[in-house]
């Protein structure tokens, strides 16, 4: 796998565009199809792609395990935090109208942060599951 020149070059070319597309799906989710779930999966897929081509240790160097585990929890925390922000500003839990003077603007803000939280958690979980599956069998017992 390590000597596949074509794969390595194509991978290097494509991965930035995959990440860019993930961001597009994330922030264009208000206007077209897309949103946090899809963008999270796509950005995790970009890193998984990298891991498949360059080997798992390279991917682990790029996005270490500790970072991934932090991301998993951070996303949920952001989502919950948006809820509590609404509560602190005098609305109901997960009420976005109070996040800004203009209710519509407040909605925008709430949805934006919630989608960010979804993105972070989904990307983290997908990446972590891939690390776990791919990392098994190489360390202790090699597969059959």
């Amino acid at each position: 796998m390590r000597t596949e020149v074509v794969l390595r070059v194509v991978g290097k070319l494509l991965i930035p565009f995959m990440l860019l597309f993930a961001l597009y799906v994330q922030f264009h989710g208000d206007f077209g199809p897309g949103g946090g779930f899809q963008a999270g999966v796509i950005s995790a897929a970009a890193v998984i792609f990298y891991g498949l081509i360059y080997g798992l240790p390279a991917a682990r160097r790029l996005v270490p395990d500790g970072v991934v585990e932090t991301l998993v929890a951070l996303g949920v925390t952001i989502y919950l935090g948006v809820g509590f922000a609404g509560l602190a500003l005098g609305g109901n839990y997960l009420d976005y109208f109070v996040l800004h003077r203009d209710p519509v603007e407040g909605q925008h803000r709430g949805i934006f942060w919630i989608e960010i939280g979804v993105l972070i958690t989904v990307a983290g979980v997908m990446l972590k599951i891939f690390y776990m599956f791919a990392g098994r069998g190489r360390g202790g017992d090699p597969g059959p």
Binding site: V41, G75, L94, H108, V118, T121, F130, M132, F133, G139
Partner: protein, 170 residues
């Protein structure tokens, strides 16, 4: 075509082709969803069903080998259970309103409000996003927590042993 694929998946004994066929199935499902105008769902199906889960299943295959084990006994009881459940579900579909009936409850309950007021109230042109993140914020919170719990579960089950254990095994 999808029915043919499903039969192929069931009959096939080589797990590698099963994984690839289920990826193909996901892509077909995504095209069906696009035809039904559910672009958001189609996108999720294509990226999760065909992309990530294929990679994960291939990873699992790498660990457990490529041939399906022979079943222990003839699967007669499961067959009976499956047939009964299918009959019950088909019977249940007769109670549903006709396809694209404008008087169906889900066309008259909250959907008109979401469609008419959603863009005005949230300022978000994509109704799916508006409903998902704003009107149904609690449901989405639940979904995120489900994903989070799945991740935590996998970490708890598959996390490599502590350093002491590793040295012992060596």
């Amino acid at each position: 075509m999808m029915a043919a694929l499903t039969i192929a998946i069931v009959v096939q004994r080589n797990l590698f082709s099963v994984v690839i066929l289920s990826g193909v199935y996901s892509f077909l499902m995504a095209t069906v969803l696009v035809a039904l105008d559910a672009v958001d769902v189609a996108m999720t199906e294509a990226s999760v069903g065909a992309g990530i889960s294929t990679v994960l299943l291939l990873g699992a295959l790498y660990l457990c080998g490529g041939e399906e084990a022979k079943p222990m006994q003839r699967p007669l009881l499961p067959l009976v259970v499956a047939v009964v459940i299918i009959a019950a579900l088909v019977y249940g579909t007769f109670g549903l309103p006709a396809f694209s009936d404008p008087q169906a409850p889900f066309h008259t309950h909250v959907i008109p409000r979401y469609l008419n007021e959603g863009p005005k109230e949230t300022g978000v042109p994509n109704v799916v996003t508006a409903v998902l993140a704003s009107y149904r914020g609690f449901d989405t919170l639940g979904e995120v927590i489900v994903v989070f719990t799945a991740g935590i579960g996998v970490i708890a089950l598959l996390r490599p042993r502590r350093k002491g254990d590793k040295e012992k095994r060596k």
